[in-house]
């Protein structure tokens, strides 16, 4: 009677564990949802001259507050906050930063904005689903459901979503939305791309942007680094970069995994419900089983002792 119960428990437990482990294994190699006509932007860092036209266009398009310095003031490139170059915030959805690199006689400029990941970490981390990846490629955000937990800010590998600290009662995350409402929805390029005088930003379907990037790398052999940043980083991003200097020298994080950020935490997070629901029951069961034997033996010895007496 006792043994058969133990076997039943064991098989149940084994079944539970296998059923928990195998689906998660299968889900590991999941496919990223690819939209056929998803748009993208190819950023050619060899062309940018740091004129800040894109910043000015973004400010006008998104009706952002006026900046402290006018957009033709290039002294912003020397600004440092906590020894860090400028970052996007609630007053600017895109910034250009300057990099002086040893051995290269001209400065390099890098534009920063939301990269609009194929499988965004901000979206997957949001427990109220405030984020949406649209078929056009934009990662947009719905303020009306946001509770202001800021998990997306932690999740983003590019440090893009920022919090509107200026308003205490109106939690809002602010970031580049690919000009979705005003432009992308109507198949028009975002304002920054249209403003760029150097052709440093090229707008089109993402897969065509990858083709163009490859072709530029091949046709100018030796000029570019043989890599399109964003083709695979974080599972692929809508904004793609080609450069003539190693990406790590101009502030790109080369340690970002090529799989979506979700994949690196999913296995761990999959255990959370199990820990919360199964572990209490399981260990309570173990405890009962263990103490039951002790109790049983204690009773048995008691009976024996009584019998002897």
């Amino acid at each position: 009677m006792n043994i058969s119960r133990r076997i039943a428990l064991k098989t149940a437990l084994a079944g539970m564990i296998t059923s928990l482990l195998f689906p998660s294994r299968r889900a590991e190699s999941h496919q990223i949802k690819q939209y056929q006509n998803s748009m993208g932007v190819l950023v050619d860092l060899t062309r940018c001259i740091g004129c800040r036209s894109c910043e000015a266009a973004c400010n006008a398009e998104q009706k952002l507050p006026p900046p402290k310095k006018p957009f033709n003031d290039l002294s912003v490139y020397d600004e440092r906050e906590h020894n860090r170059r400028r970052r996007t915030d609630e007053t600017r959805y895109t910034v250009v930063n300057r990099f002086e690199i040893q051995g290269i006689d001209h400065p390099l400029f890098r534009k920063v904005q939301c990269n609009h990941c194929q499988e965004p970490a901000c979206l997957t981390s949001c427990f109220v689903s405030a984020y949406t990846k649209t078929p056009e490629g934009a990662v947009i955000y719905d303020q009306s459901v946001c509770v202001g937990c800021r998990t997306c800010m932690v999740a983003c590998p590019f440090y893009i979503p920022t919090f509107r600290y200026s308003s205490a009662f109106n939690p809002s995350i602010v970031k580049c939305i690919f000009c979705y409402d005003t432009r992308l929805k109507y198949q028009r390029p975002p304002a920054c791309v249209e403003a760029c005088p150097m052709g440093a930003l090229t707008f089109g379907r993402r897969k065509e942007m990858i083709q163009i990037g490859r072709r530029r790398i091949e046709n100018n052999r030796g000029l570019y680094v043989d890599h399109i940043y964003g083709e695979y980083e974080a599972g692929g991003t809508s904004w793609l970069y080609i450069s003539d200097v190693p990406f790590e020298k101009i502030g790109f994080d080369m340690n970002i995994p090529h799989a979506p950020i979700l994949d690196s935490v999913k296995n761990f997070l999959g255990f959370v419900p199990m820990v919360l629901t199964i572990w209490p029951a399981l260990f309570a069961g173990f405890h009962l089983l263990a103490t039951r034997k002790e109790n049983h033996e204690r009773k048995k010895t008691q009976v024996e002792r009584e019998e002897r007496q």
Partner: protein
Amino acid sequence: MNNVFLMIAGCLLTGLFSALPLPAANRPDPPEAIVLNTLSELYQPVVFDHLSHQDNYNCNTCHHHTAGTGAATDFCGKCHDHSPPRQELSCAGCHLPLSHPISSTEAEKIPFYHIDILSLKSALHLQCIGCHQDEDGPDGCLDCHAFTRKGKKRFQITGNDS
């Protein structure tokens, strides 16, 4: 004889951006100056001194596929050697105002070799700035472009600076 090819966008001067190829004999002399006003919303027109450039540089430095002492690159000539595009002299003839393959139907129409053609604005800037940096020409934005009122507003310039 080669100079007759130097008409770069006579029509740019008149504000028309579609130069039609003319028979060599009918080609007017190259313009002395060209008014570039594609960015007229934010910037005042730029007067490009064609004469001084034509005196100091080879035609094909700028007219890279078509004019002067042979094409600088033969990329276009592979297909267009004997066809009208080869005769095109104005920048705007090949470089359209926008290079973005916008609607899906438009994108499908873009042929294999025309996948990465610069927009007019990009072509002009990429053509000018690199050379101006090497040759100590003006290379700051405001060295060539003066803001319009709307431009000042766009760049949030208050007061009378610049």
